[in-house]
Symmetry: D2
Subunit: 386 residues, 4 copies
């Protein structure tokens, strides 16, 4: 099998991960995107039932040997709920702004309007391994025998992390996926250089995983929209309208070369939306992304997946032909949800940067963290904070 | 036929149109979007061969009587070139961000990858009349007999102008389309409350037609991308990242009600791009739109059409089965073109507002112009201009 | 305005329409497509509430003078129900197999998942007039004042009939649309060379309007799927698998030249399906179409629109944010509905041919009817009927 | 890791594969679909440069133990050419008729209009392993170092073979993919129960891999279109219009239950077509599929991928910004290519059945071969052959 059949142990780490606890989220610095309030944790996990888990793979320093490392990658899982997703799928849809990448099974998500598995994020070349791991996990945990479901549509997304990571070395193992699933929890979500965000960058700053949420009130009811991004997208950073990247002299190299990047955005909501409506919600992620200064680069695969935790509830009970979901009568009511989704994506991308520390990767390649002190100065100069 | 069969004369005007010559374009105020230089006129007409014409229909004041007025509407035409578009179609594609509207023949534009007719813009309910007029124009001018082309795909787009205009009165006539075509010219383009932009608004300010262009350099060659918008889109205005709408207290009513709006964006380029590539260019319009503060409203039909003036040149000559277009080898080279398109759309939307004067329409409904003095103050406060 | 501003009176006919009462539908000849039973009339009107109306325009003989005729065209309307479609839209979706044509507002049908107007069919170049007429009809009948709905999405489809008809003469008038709407009724549907089918052909035989329906049983409930086609599609006719066209020596000229054609298919059902599911239903029209021998010609615009009469019932009552449609739990149950849709389309296309008589049109151009005696002989030879 | 971590050796076979040399292809029996002649081998390999390889995995009999077997599955690879596909990608596009499955990277194929890797086919749950193997193959063979291409878009398709195969056991290994690639050759292609077709069925007959080709003449030039299918699609078999399935009493169980199936169709051509045009070609596969009697089942993922071997030739040479492909001037010329594609797909599906022998799989589940004697009798009865 050649140089790729090395003896990775499956241990994720041989060193202490960098500590990012000193770095605040953007809202803690007074940067609040949009007019809707966030949920309790300002995270995708504010949508009841949703859990997030990471497995971070960080090994080695210095010169790259393909198959040996250094490794700066990982896996992030979004569990839409705790129970069997095959038996209890969720209404879902995808929106692809720029298809320069691979997220598996989106044709099925859109054809059936449902999400049948947890969502995995990892690096571009490890999609196959993650897919295989997700299949194994489902077979081992949900399938009751050979005549039970013989196929389902695993959703695995990716972005490229090869500037820091030995991406050609294929260091993600089935075990890492299991580890991420096992680690999944509700409540606060680790952000920055963690899990599938370990090796990525955005607007030439170190970035990674980011999350945010919004609470929208339709008539007298409150609903939550939660977003998680694996943010690896090229551009010149804009923070709440302020040209921070330009001020810092960190501008879009995409306009000159073919640096690679992408964004994966996952949107969860307890709004009872059908697949068509969720696709519309997912489309609005593009608006939030645009406001952070991205250039719409050729090579940036921009994939968004939205699911509703409430629309299909009840479908697994009873023998009736029909179920009766709650469904919005007048879709004009969705406009606030659309706006809130865009805002949450914008803030999630900012969080992915604000929470990320400098990482030195393969061949000494370094992606620097955003200097928050200087950012605050710039925000002040531009009249945004005091 | 009832109350709609009134005796409109086909004259467009019974009063002097408002003068907007005192209002500068945004770049004249020092607001420059992005890093690429504009073309000579900073207009879609900077792409060689492209012409724009308007017919403005402005009649009556006061209380609305459906079919009588007041009328605040019109027609704008984009001619891709001077000759027979049926015989010399252009490579083209569309991108629909939110399909809440009607632009005719986009399925054909995308299936064939071509634009076979001039593009018309008008109000929502007058699409049929404009379509009919465009067919007549082509039959009368291009069709050489009954066995000549028996069908083609007229492209007519629209936005809603019924807050100011007696839209139900269907005041656009075939003559107005002919008038707009006849008026089409290269060089500077009238912006603001003119043509199809007469009755529209954006972010609750009077808006209308806006245009902008960019010159991008790929290797040693320069190419031009020109944009024209009929800008009627809801949101809270952001000018180059500065929350001008919020500062002025003019915020997005879309988030509370079902006010209607939309945007039509036409992109012309002399880059030799095929239909798939043009669709990618058109998609980037969403990014520019997002940066002006739109909310992604349910009811905002956001339609973009891109065409190349150079890709099919030569197809009408000779009897060969094949022609040989120039085609970009490495699409990474398109990233600057993508970024420039987004920038030009953003600036075109701003121009549609900057150049628009206050209009009082049906039932005294008024849409106020953006106060440019105050806008400049805000821009200064936010550190954007001196 | 030139030669198109002639003095058409709006009268549809100056001669007696050809009688097709002697021609049976295909099922009357023992040709039964598929395994599901048809509804009472084997027509789209078997879906409760659906009505169909035609206006046939037939004038002149001999040499064509553009604007004078001869005229062989018309309008067909499908009313989804009797009441205000703006206030009571229906869940809907479209599927475009080959976008070589113009059906208006499909982007909105798919974005909103609804049908807000009756559906009109006419000839290709009269789409604008039909659109305008439909807008007028809605304004005059449904709009309650200037602040009522200021925009909606009229659905007008077309096929090309210029081999028989003076299509460039634009003979469809607003009055014809009103006439078709007024004529709409439930029960049996006129087929063949009538309404929008007057001038069309399929597989080089005279064709026109055709309809069929199927009743499918899901668990203990019966549901109806009704189809109407304007069938103008090129190919070599196949009848229930038998190569009738080849046997008759009437083969596909599309394979050699650029003869034009298209098909419009309208699918109505009382199955409570959402837009995504209706799109899947509409897609299956392609299967039925394929079985009649079509070649998938470059120039054949193949557009399908499906709507459900039951999914949105109740949405206009009450002030609640939500309604609660019945929704299929397990979409595997839709497979019979998919198969039945394909079968009904196949039979509707056959009916459009079986019921059509020979028509002589402009310049003496003639499209001959299918010889049913010979067809039966061929069917016997191929072991299909006794 | 539980029961899935068994000790598969990677050997594909522990028994002799069934011999199908006695079974003719449908054309050898006088069944010729359509009017265009096939290429030399009537196979996808008639397109110069295209190779096909199989790895068949066949192990065990009797009662299924998940992870142990019996195994009836495999891998099929389509190599578009012999050289580095990353450096020499091909113009490509996909068309998904029913998205009930997972073919990886189609968003990228369509966004970029290119195919960057060989195409793999396997069973549904082994997509991840095949993807991973394809990545490894490319890294080991094409990637020249860490700064060479860090991402690409591997295309892996699948259908479900779990009625015969221990699909949950995940028996495909990286080695099988390498074996299939190594085995790839031009010339005749093994059909039936081989490679990715080992465990599949169509219209309730044993089926598998099938192939066919057509030569079309445009003006004076000849071009080849080749098709390969992994045919696993539910329906009631129709052979060249004759209801063979119905006559044999083998009817579509899909209409009653949720039996699973799918079809993958790969189309290769030396026509110089761009991505949009290739998508149109791929769409016509639906027509050929429809004619074999498929029901358009809910669970049948119907995915088609088309690529051109000539359109991008020359792109890897030279430093120029542009290349100059040959491009069809008048797409009406493509109608014969569209028709030929549909015909070739129909014949390839028939070949997948005609060449497949009865297979007994897990738990004694048996899928019987089509009785060719009886089929010929039926064809005679229906007047098709003598």
């Amino acid at each position: 099998m050649g140089f790729l059949s090395g003896s990775d142990t499956g241990r994720s780490l041989d060193s202490t991960l960098p500590d990012n606890s000193h770095r605040p989220r953007c809202r803690e610095l007074g940067i609040e995107i949009g007019i809707f309030p966030p949920g309790e944790y300002n995270a995708i996990t504010d949508v009841a039932g949703v859990k997030v888990g990471h497995s971070t793979i960080w090994r080695g320093e210095g010169k790259l040997v393909i198959g040996e490392g250094p490794v700066r990658t990982g896996v992030t899982v979004i569990l839409p709920h705790d129970s069997n997703t095959i038996k209890n799928p969720l209404e879902a849809a995808s929106y692809v702004f720029n298809g320069a990448g691979t997220t598996t099974s989106l044709a099925c998500v859109d054809e059936y309007g449902l999400l049948e598995t947890p969502i995995l994020l990892t690096n571009t070349l490890s999609v196959g391994t993650a897919y295989n791991a997700l299949v194994r996990y489902i077979v081992e945990n949900y399938i009751e025998g050979p005549d039970d479901r013989g196929w389902f549509a695993p959703v695995v997304g990716e972005t490229y992390d090869g500037f820091l990571n030995d991406i050609h070395g294929l260091h993600v193992r089935v075990e890492h996926v299991y580890e991420a699933i096992k680690a999944a929890s509700s409540g606060p979500v680790a952000e920055g250089a963690v899990g599938a965000g370990t090796g990525v960058r955005t607007c030439n700053f170190k970035a990674g995983i980011g999350t945010s949420s919004r609470v929208v009130k339709l008539e007298s009811s409150e609903f939550t929209i939660g977003v998680l991004v694996q943010s690896n997208v090229p551009g010149t950073l804009v923070v709440d309208g302020v040209p921070v990247g330009k001020e810092l002299g960190v501008v879009d190299r995409e306009l000159r070369s073919s640096q690679q990047g992408s964004i994966m955005g996952i949107i969860a909501t307890d709004l009872p939306l059908d697949s068509r409506q969720l696709k519309r919600l997912a489309a609005r992620c593009t608006l939030g992304m645009a406001r952070t200064g991205v250039s719409g680069s050729h090579g940036s695969g921009d994939f968004f997946i939205a699911f509703s935790t409430t629309y299909r509830s009840g479908t697994s009970q009873g023998q009736e032909l029909f179920y009766r979901p709650h469904r919005i009568k007048d879709e004009n009511f969705l406009t606030p949800a659309f706006a809130a989704t865009a805002d949450a994506v914008e803030e999630a991308i900012l969080n992915s940067i604000f929470k990320a520390v400098t990482v030195v990767g393969r061949d000494g390649n370094t992606v620097s963290e955003l200097d928050l002190e200087k950012t605050l100065e710039i925000m002040r100069k531009y009249g945004r904070i005091e």
